[in-house]
Symmetry: C2
Subunit: 373 residues, 2 copies
């Protein structure tokens, strides 16, 4: 990451929208009340026409950009390299909104939240959210802010899936979309690794079907499940050059083992197992082709401009996943640009290589500013 992508700004704390009437999930359950956490950056103009919604991925939160002063962890937002003053999503021009999705453990009512009707954590009784639930929670926040039409909606991975779901559910709510490292359904390789990760978590008897919060200890199953993630993110080349068969210091422990333990414990300290399996299951269940009959049917009312960005080393959503979406959208006569980016960082390129994704995002958004005849 070069210097210009690491400049940041001070962001305000996340805000809460409390739905006293509750939030009704796709599968029928309603949690009452329901809190949705979101953040905003930049200034909403008088006509409320300069808003961009960004959608976060599995392990991220509403904290998409900037740096807190009130938080001792002091981390910059997950898309800080792309969102900021003078950056591709330029806060001199745009008002950016990011909503913590239902199921995620970072503020929005989650499995680890206390159910006021019982005084206990929701745990296993928390619904299994869908991508549609995530999109509807974002729509609720935008309605609350009085934003009826967005300049754009952008996201990567699970975030990109939400973007595509917006095209199907609310095709008139935005002028354009930016979907990176994404597709209309998770291919079988991703499903298989998600399923194995879930089975690992459930193998930990302390998981107790999801009702483990009173035990206090970090779940080993989540630590180990996360190691699978690291194997699928790391290329064979990266494994060889970063670790090889090297041992840790004077011990017989392989360095890769030590790396796994560090990453697994760190992740399990920040994330929650019930959230992990629910958010991954939501990804796996989305399939626009199955849900709408065809991709053409899913995108039949979408008329805006689309930027699809894919990465040649992405194992989860290969380039062909964006090609399918682009093909369906083009067959309906809409304006689609598919940017194929070469990278060694695989699926996570959208979170790492800001120098590679900035030019196409900047050009795409600037193209929108040209008044349309």
């Amino acid at each position: 990451m070069v210097e210009r992508y690491s400049n940041t700004f001070i962001s305000a704390p996340a805000r809460e929208l409390v739905l006293e009437e509750g939030f009704r999930f796709t599968h029928g359950q309603t949690l009452t009340p329901f809190t949705i956490v979101y953040e905003t950056y930049g200034e909403l103009n008088a006509s409320k026409s300069n808003a961009i919604l960004v959608c976060h991925a599995l392990s991220a939160s509403a904290h998409a950009a900037g740096r807190y002063t009130h938080d001792e962890n002091d981390r910059t937002g997950w898309w800080d390299g792309l969102i900021g003053y003078g950056k591709a999503i330029d806060l001199e021009k745009y008002f950016v909104v990011c909503v913590n999705l239902p199921g995620s453990p970072f503020g929005t009512t989650a499995p680890q939240s206390i159910d006021p009707s019982t005084g206990k954590h929701y745990g296993s009784r928390y619904p299994w959210p869908t991508i549609e639930d995530m999109v509807r929670s974002q729509k609720i926040v935008l309605d609350h802010l009085g934003i009826t039409r967005l300049r754009s909606i952008a996201g990567g991975s699970l975030g990109g899936m939400q973007v595509l779901m917006w095209c199907a559910m609310y095709p008139e709510a935005m002028e354009s979309i930016i979907a990176m490292a994404s597709g209309s359904a998770v291919p079988v390789t991703g499903i298989a690794w998600h399923i194995i990760g879930r089975k690992i978590i459930e193998t930990d008897q302390r998981f107790h079907g999801g009702d483990y919060y009173d035990h206090g200890e970090q779940l080993r199953g989540l630590e180990v499940a996360r190691m699978i993630g690291h194997m699928t993110y790391l290329s064979a080349h990266a494994l060889q050059t970063k670790f090889g068969r090297r041992r840790r210091g004077d011990t017989r422990q392989f360095e890769i083992d030590s790396y796994f333990e560090y990453q697994g414990k760190k992740f399990a300290g920040l994330y929650d197992a019930n959230s992990y399996i629910r958010v991954q299951a939501a990804m796996d269940e989305m399939d626009l082709e199955e849900q709408y009959g065809s991709l053409q049917a899913a995108f039949s009312k979408w008329r805006g401009k689309s930027l699809l960005v894919s990465f040649d080393t992405d194992w989860l959503f290969p380039v062909s996943a964006s090609e399918s979406v682009a093909g369906a959208m083009r067959s309906l006569g809409t304006d689609v640009h598919h940017e194929r980016v070469s990278s060694t960082n695989g699926h996570d390129t959208f979170l790492i290589d800001f120098d590679k994704i900035t030019p196409c995002v900047r050009a795409f958004l600037e193209g929108l500013n040209v008044p349309q005849s």
Copy 2:
């Protein structure tokens, strides 16, 4: 597999060699007494000069060829496609020996065996065997049979690693070697998956550090660990064509999930978790370069002929692993043929595509029959 590889013969039950003095493991422990199980096929000639040792891989046993009549499971041996009357390792000519390795749960004294001094399963007290232990157990059986010089030693994967270890430990004990899908050390990708599999098993609290035999139930951790194996054996193409996003019947369960459950339960019913982690650790610890200073040093006394067979889709031991071994052996002036086989079956090609491995093995062994001047 074509018809000629599926013809088989009736093999005798496995035999037991009981070492009353016990077996001393590399790391210092001695188990007394110690039983080694082995099988033989074909006839040993009068000069005891027609013997071939075959070395088995992780989940296999001493039952390398033929079909039992006494066993209701009635499975043919794991290398039956290669070993038989008229096959590449031709029982008309050769006497074949296969030894169940120390640590494996198929007859040789194993973690699940009863320790006569306590009346309980060895469990966590069973030593962590090395590849050297496996080779020495084979040497003991050959000494018992009065075989001082082998025509050849052959094996794939872990079996191939044993073959290479023979070249380092007993270079004068054989005329030739055949090592498939193998190398002088497991690359980091394999180590990483082995480590994750082990951590999954240990995540199952019923594992109890290895002392779980009294609980009776199959270990869920072993079932799930095995699923990782299937992911690494299956190519992305095979996953897509065999399963894709298909659901099972009228349910929402993905077919890949059902496949994992079937394979995991089947494997955990046959194999043992303590064996699984020990045999994989033995593979990971072998590193001829580290142990001898260099591959040249490891093979410095080896003068026989070598056939190395690698598979272009092998993720565990890539073609380059055989190239390194071939390079070191050639630099010492020995006769090496490296056969590169193209296959879609990855690492397991040596257990599946007998039509692809038969020609080079047959030609190699026939070449040995020419009297050497």
